[in-house]
């Protein structure tokens, strides 16, 4: 999980570095007054590498898929849900005598 996050951050840093290289390349093109037809080849390689790393991070960081079958192994219901339908208040505890001078035990 942390590894995926680190790879994602690394991919974004590579993209920023590629952006900075392209800005410098455009500055160079302005000096020589040529047209911008596309970033240089190594910037394209850098961008595809950054894209691959970010794609890997985007698929692994958010978490695993959980099965939605109600009868699969990891979806077993092992405790009753805590809603009022399952709480019983009408039990035999009411026949115990109420002690009026109870003190808190330390």
């Amino acid at each position: 999980m942390a590894l995926g996050f680190a790879i994602g951050v690394f991919g974004v840093l590579i993209l920023f570095h590629a952006a900075y290289s392209t800005i410098q390349y455009r500055g160079l093109l302005k000096i020589t007054e040529e047209e911008f037809s596309g970033p240089p080849f190594n910037v394209v390689i850098e961008l595809s590498l950054g894209l691959v790393l970010c794609m890997w991070a985007a698929l692994t960081v958010p978490g695993k898929f959980l099965s939605i079958h109600p009868d699969s192994e990891e979806n077993r219901i092992v405790s009753l849900p805590a809603n009022l339908d399952f709480m019983i208040f009408n039990h035999r505890g009411k026949v115990f005598p109420v002690e009026m001078d109870l003190k808190l035990k330390h």
């Binding site: 952006a19 970033p39 961008l47 698929l59 978490g63 898929f65 939605i68 079958h69 109600p70 009868d71």
Partner: protein, 119 residues
């Protein structure tokens, strides 16, 4: 005896065509959230890449379509190619978050294009 009855009931409720009538909704929501996060993040990254590469007009949208197609393949691979176990229909895996991602893509595309090519 009770176990076999409940087992056959749940089998009756799942037809052949991705149509689970009873499923675990909380896990379904978790899976949808994962798809949404993945697509949004990749739309933003794709927007930045399209801006840096200097795509204008139709080329950028074609790039976005390609990116979303690769993302769909990646998500189906993450679900180990059996989307029935994790989702209730194909459309959710392939098309959910497509339009929301498109808007994030265009936003970051214009943003990156301005920073890299205009200033």
């Amino acid at each position: 005896m009770v176990h076999s009855e409940s087992g056959s009931e749940e089998k009756k409720s799942s037809n052949a065509v991705n149509d689970l009538l009873t499923f675990n909704a909380e896990n379904m929501q978790n899976n949808m959230k994962i798809i949404y996060y993945s697509r949004t993040f990749l739309s933003i990254i794709g927007g930045v890449v399209a801006g840096i590469l200097g795509f204008t007009g139709l080329k950028g949208f074609v790039f976005y379509l390609l990116l979303m197609a690769v993302t769909s393949v990646g998500l189906v691979a993450k679900a180990k190619f059996s989307t029935q176990t994790y989702f209730d229909s194909w459309n959710r895996v392939l098309l959910d978050g497509f339009l929301g991602g498109l808007m994030s893509f265009v936003l970051f595309w214009t943003f990156a294009y301005d920073i890299v090519h205009i200033f």
